[in-house]
Symmetry: C2
């Protein structure tokens, strides 16, 4: 039945659109993060905290990906930043053509930073390039410290790991040291941040890093 051929052609088509998107992001000097994680790791809370810290200093916009509902886009819109919701109606990841359609509503804004919040899924989104500068994998302490070993592709594809919900460490079976070691065993060059969106610990380091990356994009663009 040629399943592998079909899969390869789908990925090739995705990659062509992703390259177009990458060129468009570059021409607008927009630094683009593709945020990936399990459902409920706190991606949206992290995006909210990031917007609160950065939106006065920089033009920031968001594309939300969800299987169903626009609940996340409503949360972001409440912060008065531009947001477009993609509802995948069952599909388990974002693909570049969906992002291209969503970006049509944002490109005229000349954003400095675009955050794409992918569908909550620690497997499938790892295979799909969305034209981003880099993937950020968010892992919450409540998920345990073994996830990099069990879902290695995502940690291999990501350039950055945000360990979120560090305020819950006293209450859960998760060693930060083991989680970091497991992640670095899969991907030794991962840059790691540790955050809590409840206490805001670590948010300023994370946001300073985003700003520095965005500034680098502007200078080199």
């Amino acid at each position: 039945m040629g399943i592998l051929t079909v899969e390869r052609k789908l990925l090739e088509k995705n990659d062509i659109v992703a390259q177009e998107l990458r060129a468009s992001f570059k021409s607008h000097e927009t630094f683009v993060l593709n945020m990936v994680s399990s459902p409920g790791s706190g991606k949206t809370s992290l995006v909210e905290a990031t917007i609160r810290a950065l939106h006065r200093k920089t033009r920031i916009g968001v594309i939300e990906g969800d299987v169903q509902t626009d609940l996340d886009a409503q949360r972001i819109a409440a912060l008065n930043v531009p947001v477009v919701q993609i509802v995948t109606h069952g599909a388990c990841h974002l693909e570049a053509p969906l992002v291209r359609d969503a970006y049509k509503q944002l490109f005229h804004l000349d954003l400095d930073i675009l955050i794409i919040e992918n569908v909550g899924n620690l497997v499938c989104p790892s295979s799909y390039d969305l034209g981003e500068d880099l993937k950020v994998v968010v892992a919450s302490t409540t998920e345990g410290d073994d996830k990099p070993l069990k879902y290695p592709a995502m940690f291999r594809q990501a350039k950055v790991l945000v360990i979120n919900k560090i305020d819950l460490i006293p209450y859960v079976k998760c060693s930060l040291e083991t989680l970091r070691a497991n992640a670095l065993a899969i991907n030794p060059s991962l840059r790691i941040f540790e955050t809590s969106c409840t206490t805001l610990e670590g948010i300023s380091s994370w946001c300073e890093w985003i700003l520095s990356q965005g500034a680098r994009r502007t200078t080199s663009g």
Copy 2:
């Protein structure tokens, strides 16, 4: 390219094998649970707690599904119950043919209860029948109370919802009432249990229910 045709044929092939499995489970009077959830919801901890409560009263076995590693099978094997690990090597869900192969190592045991722990993924496993009696979706309180609305297919396919990690309620933004209401809005006939694998609250109700279902299978078999 006939993508939909290919997908439909794959699902049809899965369903044929799933029906064979269902007949085999029935002939052995084995009650089969397909446990699905996000990564890190505590499925394996719940399976461990279930085994500890039940393994002296009943013949119980486990099939573990993971993208990578046999860490979960090692945890189950330490409890001295039969376990087979399926490593999907990147695939985001279990399919019936994989379960058929794994079950070849278990069917001679005439199990009363077989627990299939699916890959941690709140999207893709919802589409795949594994011949189980029912799907159990596990949602941890740390994931928030909006997940049934955002990932409705899984909550629609499941007969049972286990709300896990209820000991963490004081520390997270999750209303049990809202989570229950959201789940029942998607699937009004969901049976709901609330558990903590740390305090063991709710584990006995959950295990009594499994035993009652297993017994019904044996009587009607």
